[in-house]
């Protein structure tokens, strides 16, 4: 039985490689103010009035070890049951993709509890996992191996993904010679060739050309229809309305609203 349970889930994203020392200096001046405001907002326990929470991204703070960290997700508690289609909405940097990666088991939470039951298929990043030096056919094989398919399964995947992507003779060309559209076709074909219980999607898949998207539509519908749970992050409210029946509105790493799509979107419109 597929389900996702999160209790008090928190993710801190350390900023390591961008000169934390100089950044630290810059932050020390403003961090105190930001933190105090945030606490004030928290105490009010409502997200109605202030402008503070409308900022882009999570809180940038210093942790106990004096590292500069973005607290990307803070104290998320939710449960997703079988059959639910959840849309994640929010500004850039609100934590949508981080939450998807956390659900995929990539980022380990620093606080809280997370349980994901069911086979996860992550369609988070189109080209990650593709090896640009290898040919399309080798990449299909690789994707099959990563999923633990046997020889027959890989042959099937090659057949299916090869014909769906319509790459024909380009399948034997290294991917770095592909146009971005061709890469997307292959990535889409590969990622949609399996039928996982839980699908985690970022909005990249909407980026194809029109002719391909028409073809992709049917496949995507079948994929989503066959899955127990879908979690989809998007900026496009038409997409959210179309594919989802529940929406989670993230802001600065916190859940601001969670409920039926129309209610959440209405609250969001009212707030802006």
């Amino acid at each position: 039985m597929s389900h996702i349970k999160a209790r008090g889930l928190s993710i801190d994203f350390p900023l390591y490689h961008l000169g934390a020392r100089s950044l630290k200096k810059r932050l020390l001046a403003s961090a105190r103010v930001r933190l105090r405001r945030d606490e004030a907002a928290h105490e009010m326990n409502a997200h109605t009035t202030d402008r503070v929470t409308r900022r882009v991204g999570g809180e940038v703070v210093e942790d106990a070890a004096h590292r500069v960290v973005v607290s990307a997700l803070r104290d998320l508690t939710f449960e997703i049951r079988k059959g639910e289609r959840v849309g994640l909405v929010g500004h850039n940097g609100a934590g949508k993709t981080t939450l998807l990666r956390t659900l995929a088991g990539v980022f380990e939470p620093v606080g809280g509890f997370l349980e994901v039951s069911g086979e996860v298929g992550s369609l988070i990043d189109a080209t990650a996992g593709l090896d640009v030096e290898s040919t399309g056919r080798e990449n299909i094989r690789l994707a099959g191996l990563f999923r633990g398919l046997d020889a027959a399964g890989i042959a099937r995947l090659e057949e299916e993904a090869g014909s769906f992507s319509g790459l024909a003779e380009f399948l034997d060309v290294p991917i770095k010679g592909y146009s971005s559209g061709m890469q997307l076709r292959l990535a889409f074909a590969l990622m949609t060739a399996s039928s996982p219980n839980i699908i985690l999607m970022d909005e990249w898949f909407l980026a194809g050309d029109t002719a391909f998207m028409e073809k992709a539509e049917a496949r995507l519908t079948a994929l989503v229809g066959g899955a127990d749970i879908v979690v989809l992050a998007s900026h496009d409210m038409a997409v959210i309305r179309r594919w989802c029946d529940r929406a989670i509105w993230l802001e600065a790493g916190r859940i601001r609203a969670d409920g039926p799509v129309e209610e959440v979107l209405a609250a969001r419109d009212a707030a802006s």
């Binding site: 995929a104 088991g105 069911g118 996860v120 191996l145």
Partner: protein, 270 residues
């Protein structure tokens, strides 16, 4: 099913489970290692045999020159140099490339949940395949000098096992440290260059005279000697074996402990 509770991290059992799963998917690691090499040498005529060829050039050049400089007979010096160079190449590649174990797989690490030890196994297998390309060179040297390896040669297999374990530790430990601190990659590269000169590779231990007893303090020497000794010098000293086993076990313990402690942070580091 994936469950994680930040209040009860159970780090060691998670790390050990990771290593178990990674080892179980050796077929995948093998395929990935082969693909790595195929891509690295795509369009190259000789492929990995380029390494063999460059070792051969070095062997011939250094062999004649240093046999003369050290005043050693060529038949004595050349087998020493050949075995040392080949083994050193394996060790040095394992350490230098080990720094990239995790960062080169950043894309896949941030995409799906896979055992990290899979990437380690992939790196070790890749290095072993490359190393295998140098074996004909050793055979060539023994043939050219018409000299058989010593009777203790099978003991070198234990030495190879020690080397393989060290390769895995290097790929795991350095792969993680270098993902967190990018400077370490440069440090390792210069340290390996330094180690090349202070380890008896182009020079022979005998040249140190009485001071040679201190050599097992150099981990690279101890590990090198477990292969070189059995192959050409009729076995290695007991002190060398003890030192090599201790170094290997210590390094492996350090790597696993570090992995257990920081496994959860690795996805943020790459």
């Amino acid at each position: 099913m994936y469950r994680v509770d930040a209040d009860q991290p159970r780090r060691l059992s998670t790390a050990l489970a990771d290593i178990r799963q990674g080892t179980a998917s050796w077929r995948l690691a093998w395929e990935l290692a082969r693909l790595d090499l195929k891509n690295r040498y795509r369009g190259s005529v000789l492929g990995p045999f380029w390494i063999t060829l460059s070792t051969l050039v070095m062997l011939v050049g250094l062999g004649f020159l240093y046999a003369r400089l050290f005043n050693l007979p060529l038949t004595d010096y050349l087998p020493h140099l050949a075995v040392s160079l080949v083994v050193w190449q394996v060790l040095s590649t394992a350490f230098v490339e080990g720094c990239g174990t995790m960062t080169t797989n950043a894309g896949i690490i941030r995409q799906m949940r896979l055992p990290f030890s899979l990437h380690v196994l992939r790196a070790v297998l890749r290095s072993l395949i490359v190393a295998a390309h140098s074996l004909p060179l050793l055979a060539l040297v023994f043939l050219a000098l018409w000299r058989a390896p010593s009777a203790e040669a099978p003991q070198a297999l234990f030495g190879l096992v020690l080397i393989a374990v060290n390769m895995a530790s290097a790929a795991l430990f350095l792969g993680m440290v270098c993902a967190r601190f990018r400077d370490v990659t440069q440090i390792v590269a210069s340290l390996m260059q330094f180690a090349f000169f202070v380890t008896p590779i182009i020079w022979k231990p005998q040249l140190l005279g009485d001071q040679a007893v201190w050599l097992p303090l150099n981990p690279f020497y101890a590990i090198l000697e477990t292969v070189r000794g059995p192959l050409i010098a009729g076995g290695a000293d007991a002190a060398v074996w003890v030192a090599a086993v201790l170094y290997t076990a210590g390094f492996a313990a350090l790597a696993v402990a570090f992995f257990a402690r920081f496994r959860g942070r690795l996805a943020f580091w790459v």
